[in-house]
């Protein structure tokens, strides 16, 4: 079977980027929007075809095969070299579909949303660049290729968050996002260096080779603090994933990243880029699982669980709708992480892995929908804050319905996509780690609550005095909404366990009715509470938050993470390290160099006094010299 045509999937956006980027001045807005959508549409179609082709024919003896097409890009040593290429296996195919579909929808949507913006073409070129980088990332054949595209994704995220570059908050958010993820990527890079040093390869296939023998051998290599170097390498690599996926403690950039245009948030900060960390762990799953008895995987699970809980708590208190969605994203990605973390490798044991990928897929759909819906709302009322919204269901019926579908989906309402994927996660957690399971159930309830708090606040509640009467968004924006709403329901009925599994062998997954019932009833309870609190304007929620007092403030301020980081960077790194470095340089290093110069000059000044130009001084030196010489001569003469 030949999948080499998949290389076109990332290359089309690349070509788009080059065309739109280089000729951004020449191409009129009307063309660039269509061009971008058309290009991504082609990519989307191609990846759908790939998915069909692969999942139908890609099996050999019941195991999904991996197809690799690569070209050497840079050779480091005899063993280590970077290849660029495409790797076709279940998760990469799935990610291709996710990325291209969401990207295509966002392109279509942006044609309406960005209408009239002076950087229209520039915006589309950035989107194309992002799509290219993200596709390159998911199709990477080796760690280093992934790192390359990982960085490119970060840069395009920087460009897109800072799209409104005249706005200081956008610039600050862009910088923050880049630097925080860059710091996390440092871990990624060091992890790559460590692992490649001990294994002599970057290649995913070698690193995750099915035998497990090789992996176990690596596990026994050098050790540090009781863990093998390989585990440390994996943890460091996971640090990169933590940064990109906005897990604790590197999540601080994600809420700020909402400064970017809303379609960007939908594409990058909801559906695709932020799940890169999940994808990374899934990519290296066998290594995570087998090395040192899966210690690194436990780290993944706990980071995911804690992040999902914390993010859900914070989401309850926020008032900016995009930030609520951002924390919700973080929470859901935590879900995916913990699912991976509790997963095992073979057959039905690998349910968590499958669930995680499944949730990634459905989440991409409904979260993109939520963002696009929020964008539609923001577009209509020109504000991000819930206090400026209310009763919008009357004005924006399509947005309302699609948003409701997405909210039900994320809340895990039976029948919707999120219900199925979340159920699998909970089953996996229940089977492997009860602690994590309870926390996930709690998160499920919280999720339903804050989503419906959002929903009721926007679409129900008081009718505000709008300056301009809000109206439904144009067709270019609602079509993507409808498509994604469809996916948010239908996505759940895809038999994922037939396609994406840890050991590449399909298995049958069944709905675990008791657990599903618990989860969905928790979700419904959340919805009901939200209904009571927010359906009609009431003082109930205020009383409630007042009751919690300090804790509420603490959570409202996002646990003071930002302040902590600011303190570390501004005060310690900039204030102490950088300041003292520049002080040291100016005064000590340069000072000593200048000091040498000054000493020379002052010695010269002293000496030049002898050249006074006064004849008598010269004569005195002359006579003095003669006297001395005479004495010496006589002395010698006598002896």
């Amino acid at each position: 079977m030949d999948f080499s045509y998949t290389i076109l999937i990332p290359l089309i956006p690349l070509a788009l980027f080059l065309i739109l980027g280089l000729f951004s001045k020449k191409i009129p807005a009307s063309i660039s929007g269509w061009l971008g959508s058309l290009g991504l549409g082609t990519s989307f179609a191609l990846s759908l075809y790939t998915a069909y082709h692969y999942f139908m024919d890609g099996k050999l003896e019941g195991v999904y095969q991996t197809f690799i097409y690569k070209q050497t890009w840079l050779v480091f040593t005899d063993k280590l070299h970077i290849d660029l290429g495409v790797m076709v296996d279940p998760i990469s195919v799935m990610m291709m579909v996710v990325v291209t579909s969401v990207s295509f929808m966002v392109h279509l949507y942006s044609r309406g949303y960005m209408h009239g913006d002076d950087g229209y073409t520039r915006f589309f070129s950035y989107l194309a660049l992002f799509s290219f980088s993200m596709l390159g990332l998911v199709m990477a054949t080796n760690l280093f290729q992934m790192y390359i595209f990982w960085e490119l994704v970060g840069a395009s995220s920087f460009l897109l968050i800072g799209y409104y570059y005249t706005k200081p908050s956008a610039v600050a958010a862009a910088k923050k996002a880049f630097i925080v993820t860059r710091f996390a990527d440092l871990g990624f890079l060091i992890g790559i260096l460590l692992i490649s040093y001990y294994t002599g390869t970057f290649d995913f296939q070698d690193l995750t080779s099915q035998e497990g023998m090789l992996i176990a051998g690596w596990g026994a290599s050098a050790s540090f603090m009781g863990l093998s170097v390989f585990t440390w390498g994996l943890i460091l690599i996971y640090m990169g994933g933590v940064g990109k996926s906005a897990m604790l403690p590197f999540h601080i950039w994600l809420p700020d990243a909402m400064e970017g245009p809303t379609p960007v948030s939908a594409l990058i900060h909801a559906a695709t880029m932020v799940v890169a960390g999940v994808y990374l762990v899934a990519r290296l799953f066998p290594a995570f699982y087998f090395v040192d008895g899966g210690f690194a995987l436990q780290v993944v699970a706990y980071v995911g669980a804690i992040s999902s809980l914390v993010a859900a708590l914070i989401a309850i208190t926020q008032t900016d709708i995009k930030r609520i969605l951002a924390f919700s994203t973080m929470s859901q990605i935590g879900y995916m992480m913990l699912a991976l973390g509790v997963s095992k490798y073979e057959g039905h044991e690998g349910l968590g892995y499958m669930a995680s990928m499944f949730h990634l897929f459905t989440h991409a759909m409904f979260k993109a929908l939520l963002f696009l819906g929020a964008g539609s709302v923001i577009h209509a009322v020109h504000s991000n804050y819930m206090k400026d919204m209310g009763s919008l269901r009357k004005y924006m019926p399509i947005t309302h319905i699609t948003f409701l579908i997405a909210a039900l989906s994320i809340a895990g309402f039976p029948g919707f996509a999120g219900f199925f994927s979340k159920d699998e996660i909970l089953v996996a957690a229940f089977e492997n780690n009860k602690l994590i399971y309870y926390s996930s159930v709690l998160v499920a309830g919280l999720t339903a609550f804050y989503m419906f708090r959002l929903y009721f606040n926007i679409f129900w509640g008081e009718d505000r005095k709008y300056k301009h009467t809000p109206h439904e968004s144009p067709l270019s924006m609602t079509i993507p909404l409808i498509f994604l709403a469809f996916m948010s329901i239908a996505g759940g009925y895809i038999p994922f366990s037939q396609f994406v599994t840890a050991d590449l062998m399909p298995f049958e997954a069944h709905l675990n009715i008791p657990l599903a019932a618990i989860a969905s009833s928790v979700g419904i309870i959340g919805i009901i509470i939200a209904f009571i609190f927010y359906k009609k304007p009431s003082e109930l929620s205020k009383k409630f938050s007042n009751a919690f007092g300090v804790i509420y403030t603490f959570i409202y301020n996002k646990l003071y993470f930002d302040e902590l980081y600011l303190f570390v960077t501004k005060k310690i790194l900039f204030g102490i390290v950088a300041f003292s470095a520049s002080w040291f340089d100016k005064n000590v290093v340069d000072g000593s160099m200048i000091g040498i110069g000054n000493v020379t000059v002052s010695v010269a000044n002293k000496i030049k006094g002898m050249q006074s130009g006064k004849l008598q001084d010269y004569a005195m030196s002359f006579v003095g010299g003669i006297v001395v010489i005479a004495m010496v001569v006589f002395y010698i003469w006598i002896n």
Binding site: K614, L615, A619, M620, V623
Partner: protein, 105 residues
């Protein structure tokens, strides 16, 4: 030959005269007086020529001849130096040693 006076006495005298001239050369602040100190030095050496001639080689005349030359040179030198000093005075209205430092640095 001066009766009762040895050559050592005379050489001592001329040495003293010479170094008085040197002292003057060092200490005087005025170019004219510096020049006068130079005259003292010259005279001391001229006397040396003559008296060494007298004491050691009385039948020769070279010492005397040299003295004459020295006197002639001294006259020439003084004339020239005073011309320079006067010219300098015209230029900078001063004949102080401290004002003539063009050899500085």
């Amino acid at each position: 030959m001066i009766a009762g006076i040895s050559i050592y006495d005379i050489l001592t005298l001329t040495s003293i005269l010479f170094f008085i001239g040197v002292y003057g050369f060092f200490t005087r602040e005025n170019l004219i007086t510096v020049l006068m100190s130079v005259e003292l030095i010259l005279n001391a050496s001229a006397v040396n020529f003559v008296l060494i001639n007298t004491y050691l080689y009385p039948d020769l005349l070279q010492g005397a001849v040299f003295s004459i030359f020295i006197i002639a040179l001294a006259a020439a030198e003084t004339a020239l130096a005073i011309a320079i000093i006067i010219n300098l005075y015209k230029l900078i209205y001063s004949v102080e040693v401290k004002d003539t430092e063009t050899m500085k640095y």
